[in-house]
């Protein structure tokens, strides 16, 4: 029996960037070694980063992961087994 995770990941990246001296997407991208377009995609909720990138972001903003990323499960989908 398997259960496929369905839900939406939201994030506070944009807010955290502005709180950190209005850091630009380019500066953040350079700090963690990804392209600016990847940061833009993460902020727009269109791309979920790997755990490695998520932990790097957590480190840069000195925030725990669950403060940066939030998971909202879609109950109707997760109940299907």
């Amino acid at each position: 029996m398997s259960k496929k995770a369905k839900g939406v990941i939201s994030n506070q990246l944009r807010k955290k960037r502005f709180e950190k001296d209005e850091m630009t997407q380019q500066e953040l991208a350079k700090a963690i070694g990804v392209t600016r377009q990847t940061i833009a995609a993460i902020e727009a909720g269109k791309y979920s980063p790997s755990l490695e990138v998520a932990f790097c972001l957590s480190d840069i903003f000195s925030s725990p992961l669950d403060e940066l990323f939030q998971w909202q499960a879609n109950d109707s989908d997760t109940s299907k087994v």
Binding site: Q26, G33, V34, T35, R36, Q37, T38, A41, A44, K46, Y47, S48, P49, S50, E52, V53
Partner: protein, 161 residues
């Protein structure tokens, strides 16, 4: 503008899509000017391959020069060697689609050659010998696979992941 909001991998994919269309047109145009089959006029087909390779090199030099100028004008100083996890994910997904496509093309080529050999009055490409069909078919399959690969990449980049 698309180029202003894209990274180097996506820009390269755009160039490759245009490249495959131009080279497919060039090669198809060359085929229509061939006067014989591979068995009787092999040198013509080899010359067509050589000219296609030269045309490809010229196209790539011009396209990447234009891209370098556009990037400079836009002030895009991003490291072009930087390929991140999103680029790799998009390429992996696109490659899967491209190789489904390649497998299908190869199966179609061999089924056609088999049918041409065993079915009397087989209606398709009756005047094209199997070896010629295979040679040109593989060339177009390669271009189609490259087109699907790069078009899928562009679609994924535009969709964001």
């Amino acid at each position: 503008m698309i180029f202003k909001n894209s990274n180097f991998s996506e820009q390269t994919a755009w160039i490759s899509v245009i490249f495959t269309l131009v080279i497919a047109w060039y090669y198809a145009n060359g085929i229509t000017q061939l006067e014989g089959t591979f068995a009787s006029h092999a040198e013509q087909i080899v010359a067509l391959w050589a000219s296609t390779i030269i045309a490809s090199i010229i196209f790539v030099i011009i396209a990447f020069t234009i891209l370098a100028v556009i990037r400079k004008v836009n002030g895009d100083g991003e490291d072009i060697s930087l390929i991140d996890e999103r680029d790799e994910l998009i390429e992996a997904r696109a490659t899967r689609w491209a190789y489904y496509n390649l497998s299908t093309c190869i199966i179609i080529l061999f089924v056609h050659i088999f049918c041409q050999g065993v079915i009397t009055n087989y209606p398709f490409f009756t005047n094209v010998p199997p070896i010629d069909f295979l040679i040109h078919g593989l060339m177009f399959s390669g271009l189609l696979v490259e087109f699907v690969l790069r078009a899928t990449q562009i679609y994924r980049y535009r969709k964001a992941a």
